[in-house]
Amino acid sequence: MSIEKSLDDLYERLNLSRRSFLKSTAAGGAAVAAGGLVELQTAKEAKAFAYEPYPKDDELETVVTSCAHNCGSRHMLVAHKWKDVIVRLSTDDGRYQKDGHFGKDSNEEPQLRACLRGRSYRQRLYSAERLLYPMVRVGERGEGKFKRISWEQALDFVAKKMVQIKDVYGPTALVDQSYAGASYGVLHKSDQIEGLLGRFLGMFGCRTSSWSVPSYQGTTFSSRMTFGTIEDGNEDDAFAHSKLMIMWGWNPAYTFHGGNTFMYMRMAKQRGCKFVLVDPQYTDSAAAYDAWWIPIRPNTDAAMMAGMAHYIFNNNLQDQDFINKFCQGMDGGTMPAWAKGKENFKDYILGTYDGVPKTPEWAADICGVPAKDIIKLADMFARTKPAALKASWAPGRNAYGEQYNRMAAALQAMTGNIGVLGGCAEGVGKAWHAEAVAYPYDQYSNIWFQSIKSDRWAHCVLNYPNVKREEIGLWPREDNTDGQIPNIKGIFWQGSDWFNQLTNINKEIEAIKKLELVVCMDSTITPSGLYADILLPIATHFERHDVALPWYKGHYYIHRPKVIEPMGESKTDLQVFTELAYRIGGDVFGQAFNPKANRDYFHVNDNVDEAYLKEWWETKVMPHQHVDMTWDEFKKHGVYKFKLDQPHVAFRDQIENGASFQTPSGKIEILATQLAQITDWKRTMYGYEIPYIPKWIEPWESLNSPKTSKFPFHLISPHPRWRTHSIFNNCSWLRETYEQEVTMNAADARKLGIKTGDTVEIWNDRGKVVVPVYVTERCMPGVAVLHEGVWIDLDENGVDRAGNPDMLTLDEPSPAGAFAYNTVLCDIRKTDLEHRPGWDQLATSRAHVFRRDL
């Protein structure tokens, strides 16, 4: 393209008319005429990149793909490649969709711009930490000594060991800890419940599954109980229509939930929406949306919400018509006939049963928010229509976190903000429904022989067989194996770094020593991988064929072709499982597991993957979602964006057209039918009683507990912006944007004689970590913030020199299964203990150990 022609294009894009462009060119021409010599001399400068060779985008091959990791969104990445190397990545610029052009960015079909994590993907792809060959452990577990072996040896070892373990210990001996990791696509799907690994182990006949989801089990429970579904979310464009938005523990500036949520919230701000943040930290979201910050003690959210409910009821500000029509158990009038004698929510709030009215003053003592602020917020929320109370997941990752989410749903319902544009019923917040499965989905997809609360595996291993079913949250079974404690002897990690991410890592370290088989399938080495017996190198999503679907919000599909050939000897998950199936159970198992493939699949997988995806597109997407774009056309564009007639709002049909909610009563169940009818809690997966209406329950650790005399700080571990859990921890570009540090309030720091940049140790009875400190006014006194996901780096005394908060968390989940990640007391002091600033500094040496053939 000539420079003149391109400048012309640019002028158009900058909204300069052709005429003004001509005018400025003419002016330029005059300058040339005036100083011809000067122009001649400066003519050389037009050379763009002087440090050539520099491959420009248009000289490279362009391939549309997407990011793929376990965050709350999914965005487009555009690979610019030279032969088999990705030279750089860009993102959606409007060109790729049907009828697209550069710069197209309408509200109907906004660009799907990738975040900083997605943009750094090349560093993960080409990192020194990539696993390139199968390896077997030669040292102790956790020591990190491995030796390269062939796929033949590795698979043979795993297959034989699996059969042996199953024969000796029975069908519960293997645990699958697979999470979305870096494998979230319609075909190559790692998933906690129903992914490829679950299917493989289930068919094999030896599987203990993990049922509670670390990020949002409290929230899932609440949404299921209250609304009967986790699809209680609006699409991101609905956020632009709120007049008041309460971000409760929600920081979309860090978590980027949904394709363009944060952008639509900006639109709401421009339209006059007021924002409120209830959070121990003044987050970047609060700053960008100019929110009223209400600092709150961690784990006391349900109390503050109860105080708000009290104000609303007491002043008769509730939407009584809405309550009467759509709610069960909100007040005496909405109690079902079968529940006579049971408690209703309003009377609980007013103190009818326990003599304690949950007044704003009562709440203020617990949550540390002045009563006048609770009243002001309750008043705003009750009077502003429509108002969105966005109850995020983080405050639910607590002891009794489910009560916070249930209480939030009660507030959303009593103000009539459910099912209306600009309101909000989230919760889990899953909105538009994607056709999510292209792999074989049949009766084998989710077979398990026992299922436990996910962070209780270590407890189960260490105490077997003296474990009570309620301690590990055993899911009930219909057959005679109900209640049998699983005898766990092996773990499979697929695209999952759970060892680093679950609670109370020191207990996990004890437990893993007792196992007989630990298999880690991943694209890079991870802290979990260090404890594995076998490391299997898995192709990244750039190295295999798939389709990306939005994770949480957004309505689109992104094609994900094989951009480059798999590096080293890496194979896809599906290839590995298929080959293992053939080795264990011959053609019968192999073909049942992967019906479109034959034994060659381990070496040649392109056609089979294409066949699965094409079938998915043609039999699911096209007919079910009324898509007229063919598979080939989709592959050509690389993206398909759905256009919705109106913003998707959860429960619109129920509110506008009287459809039933998916609960037993067909209503919004403030009184949960299912819970109210349980008599023997031990025989449920919960193990312990959960109130059938939302209630405030004192957590086992908080700033109000007597334990603060020993451990005066409450530690919370939010999701960072510069990692997705532990993924990307090894990327230096991202490492440059932050430091793994503990954030604390300036007044607290002064008392301890700590200033920004000091190294501190944080400890409690469970463990100890060493990190630098960041002192700020933006954090509530008494609260310490340490982001989750950093890769553990233990010294000889088991002190984590990297600063992973899960060295301090407790492996005691909430009854409903919520991980109590944010229910942690600790103490902090200045220290001389060694802090290791970055994995990247260690990476070279560690990679050397991994790679060398010992």
């Binding site: 610029d93 944060f262 960008a288 440059e736 509530m780």
Partner: protein, 221 residues
């Protein structure tokens, strides 16, 4: 950096530098950046996109999102000031370059460094009041933002602008940015554009080609 330098080329470049020092380039149209300090969530996708585009390792940062915070608990505030090279009207870097590697483009006012001439002496780095020139120890050169001239010449916008998830970073003819004429979503319907905000050097030094939507606490009287 090449070991041997083309002496004739250096001579010509030094001559050009001398001329440009005394008769600065008056661009036909000056391009500049605009950034919304308030609505920016500080995600730094622009920084990472820039790193990837320019093939930089950890260390040199062409684009820098500064986090600014203040106040006393609980009455606090925070905002972001995002800058790369400001492609100044009077670039302080240009006259300091002993080999004449730095030049300003006539067509769009972009200031660039010819790395075949750069000797990595880092004088420009010291001269720039905004910290734009960045030393890259991997090849002993000073490098900086050139507004992705290859993208601009291809009729597109720089990588940082196209990376902005919030759409609060943009480019345009700088006069239009300052006058508010530029149609861009980076500037909201009720926003005013300032040339000077707190947390940046005095613009009189080099007359940077950049505009900001300032935070209420970041305004300069």
């Amino acid at each position: 950096m090449s070991d041997t330098k083309d002496k004739a080329k250096i001579k010509a470049a030094v001559k050009r530098r001398k001329r440009l020092t005394y008769t600065p380039v008056k661009p036909d149209m000056q391009l500049g950046f605009v950034h919304n300090n308030v609505d920016c969530i500080g995600c730094r996708a622009c920084e990472i996109a820039c790193k990837d585009k320019n093939g930089l390792a950890a260390g040199p940062r062409f684009r820098r999102v500064q986090y600014i915070e203040g106040g006393t608990y609980p009455d606090v505030f925070a905002y972001k000031v995002n800058m790369s090279c400001n492609h100044c009207e009077s670039p302080a870097c240009l006259p300091t370059c002993p080999t004449g590697a730095i030049f300003k483009r006539k067509a769009d006012g972009i200031v660039d460094i010819d790395s075949t001439l750069c000797i990595g002496c880092r004088r420009c780095e010291a001269a720039c009041p905004f910290g734009a020139p960045q030393f890259d120890p991997s090849d002993n050169l000073v490098k900086k933002c050139n507004m992705c001239v290859d993208e601009i010449e291809a009729g597109r916008k720089p990588y940082c602008v196209m990376a902005c998830m919030m759409r609060v970073l943009d480019i345009g003819p700088v006069e239009e940015i300052w006058s508010g004429e530029l149609e861009t979503v980076a500037i909201g319907p009720n926003d005013q554009v300032s040339r000077q905000v707190k947390n940046m050097s005095n613009i009189e030094l080099t007359k940077p080609s950049i505009g900001f939507v300032a935070h209420s606490k970041g305004k300069v009287k």
